[in-house]
């Protein structure tokens, strides 16, 4: 015990130093974004416990202004806008983060393995991904959902599959090109000479060195995923009514926006903008700390 204590103290000190360095590197917007994002997660996970009305409940007269009984008024069918925005948080936030996480994890692993192996499999995979990237991503998403059937379009798994199919080729390209530089480096050569297995080289040598690339990639893609999912819903190819997903809400109430149905459109729009901004703030902070660019090819 006594012999380990100084070592642990050293670890703790180095962790504290790293935290201090992180605090110095990230702008204040990072913390604003982080707190907002946590709030969104909290709402996503608990909204169905405390939302005043259900998402399909007719709660009052249609198109009411905000007031004490309806914090954001009611929509064109008389449903409570506040409740719907809160209940719509879960699908948007969880689908965005979840599908981006899947595509980042798979893409990072694939990118590293392809960079390490090169050869025919690598060439074929990269060509295939280039073809997928060469179809405008929104159109690719629409066509995929259409192929499966618009009626099944609201299914969460289909949306996850669409987002993964759009993001995976792009993430794999980014990680692979970062890994290509590492594969040639000395520490990989040493690991090979030591007789480490390929799996060990991927998991213990390459992936830890690429976690920064993957993290920023995750942030950039996650920041766009809510817009992508809402756009699909808005066009009628994502979640279907009476889902409270924000894109559906905006699309349903848009036609009566001009005749006073303001909050049923602004509510979900503001929520979407806050979520995207929060994710972008956090990503920006992390990217600055890691000294990486957040510019991406669409």
């Amino acid at each position: 015990m006594a012999t380990i204590a100084p070592f642990q103290a050293g670890l703790r000190a180095s962790r504290r130093r790293r935290l201090a360095r992180f605090r110095a590197a990230v702008p204040s917007t990072f913390w604003v974004g982080a707190v907002t994002l946590l709030l969104f997660l909290l709402i996503a996970l608990t909204a169905n416990l405390w939302a005043p009305y259900g998402y399909a409940d007719i709660a009052g007269v249609p198109i009411q202004n905000p007031g004490w009984s309806h914090l954001l008024g009611t929509d064109l069918l008389g449903r409570d806008v506040f409740s719907r925005v809160m209940l719509g948080t879960a699908p948007v936030v969880l689908l965005s983060l979840g599908s981006t996480a899947v595509s980042t994890l798979v893409g990072a692993l694939l990118g590293v393995v392809l960079a390490l192996r090169r050869g025919v499999a690598d060439a074929l995979a990269m060509r295939a991904f280039e073809v997928l990237i060469s179809i405008p991503f929104l159109i690719l998403g629409l066509v995929l959902i259409a192929a499966v059937g618009v009626a099944n379009g609201g299914g969460s798994w289909l949306l996850v599959a669409v987002v993964v199919l759009i993001y995976l080729p792009r993430t794999t390209q980014v990680v692979r090109s970062a890994a290509l530089g590492l594969v040639e480096s000395d520490f990989v050569a040493v690991a090979r000479a030591r007789g480490e297995s390929r799996r060990s080289i991927v998991v213990r040598e390459l992936l830890p060195n690429l976690s920064g690339v993957a993290l920023v990639e995750f942030g950039v893609r996650a920041g766009y995923a809510p817009i992508l999912i809402s756009s699909l819903a808005f066009l009628g190819f994502g979640a279907q009514p009476p889902s409270p997903q924000w894109g559906v809400m905006i699309s349903e109430n848009r036609s009566t926006f001009a005749s006073g149905n303001v909050w049923a459109v602004l509510g979900p729009s503001i929520a979407l903008a806050l979520l995207v901004t929060a994710i972008n703030f956090v990503t920006d902070g992390v990217a600055r700390y890691l000294d990486r660019s957040t510019v991406r090819v669409p």
Binding site: S134, P136, V143, L180, R254, A258, V265, P298
Partner: protein, 319 residues
């Protein structure tokens, strides 16, 4: 010489990619939906009607032959016939393509002055009042999806003040009336595109404004605006050119959403409607054309990147 070879290689690669894309589109759109005859004619249709339907669309032939015929027809400018109306796909797609092209061109015309003004205000008054206004505006542009920006513009400029119509599609006669009708959708696209490039140009302008040669120019008595326009701007614009090329590729997807918001009869609207009624030949043609333009825009942006950064002419860009 080296440069032209590189450009030629890039274009050739683009054509190969387009061929592969056409195969993917044909497979996904034409094969995955299962029995199209049942989908279109309904479950209660007779076997004979379905057989005739299959014959008309050549669905009884092998996939490879169908693909070859479709592609061959496409190259010769014959896109097949619409399932629902029976009219040639070409007659549906070409006017829509023209409409989308007009909208996109107008959006690009608006994009340049918006980007320049926002970036200049942000850089010249950096850290002060005007900068925080433009920074907030560009941040909103970055975080709001295009369909929300479009809806807000409709309410502001078509409902509150009646400057522009809310629906862009119908019956505007003459050049100026058409221009007025598509101002709001074009402004929506321009707003999304310039949000990003204005931030980019602002930060590179600020960087350039701090350099020695700007100090020299200021100290020798050059006027402030001449320093900015003649000395700083040309040196700050290169990264923005690259972003502009990327924006071109955004435009092709963005146009789909914005056309639906403003009921504008362009290629995006046609695609969305055709998907909804499962008009496969129209979907195939519209998707392939959009992908072709997208690939062309990507080739163009790569070539622009090589032209403005001589460094790239010698080293192969990292893939």
């Amino acid at each position: 010489m080296n440069l032209w070879r590189m450009v030629a290689t890039r274009i050739a690669l683009g054509i190969v990619t387009l061929l592969l894309v056409s195969a993917v589109i044909y497979l996904v759109v034409g094969v995955l939906p299962g029995d199209i005859a049942v989908e279109v004619l309904g479950r209660n249709s007779t076997a004979q009607a379905r057989h005739l339907f299959d014959l008309r669309l050549h669905l009884n032939e092998p996939l490879w032959d169908r693909y070859a015929q479709w592609l061959g027809g496409f190259v010769r400018g014959h896109f097949g016939e619409s399932i629902t109306t029976g009219s040639p796909v070409r007659a549906l797609v070409m006017p829509a393509l023209g409409a989308s092209a007009r909208l996109s061109a107008y959006a690009l015309v608006l994009y340049v002055p918006i980007t320049l003004t926002m970036a200049l205000i942000g850089a010249v008054w950096s850290g002060r009042g005007p900068d925080s206004v433009t920074s907030t505006l560009t941040l909103i542009g970055l975080s709001l999806p295009d369909f929300v920006i479009g809806t807000i513009l409709i309410v502001m400029f078509a409902v509150v003040v009646h400057w522009f119509p809310a629906i862009a599609g119908t019956g505007a006669q003459g050049f100026w009336a058409t221009l007025r009708a598509i101002t709001l959708p074009a402004a929506t696209l321009a707003a999304v595109m310039s949000a990003y490039s204005a931030r980019m140009l602002r930060s590179s302008l600020i960087e350039v404004l701090q350099s020695q040669f700007i100090r020299t120019a200021t100290l020798k008595g050059t006027s402030r605006w001449r320093v900015i326009f003649r000395h700083a701007l040309p040196n700050a614009i290169v990264p923005t050119l690259n972003v502009t090329a990327l924006n071109l590729t955004y435009l092709i997807g963005g146009v789909v959403v914005v056309e639906v918001v403003f009921s504008y009869p362009g290629l995006g609207q046609l695609l969305v409607n055709s998907i909804a009624i499962r008009d496969i030949p129209v979907v195939e043609a519209a998707t392939l054309i959009a992908s072709g333009i997208y690939i062309a825009a990507n080739v163009f942006s790569d070539v622009v990147a090589v032209l403005v950064t001589p460094r790239l002419r010698y080293a192969r860009p990292a893939r």
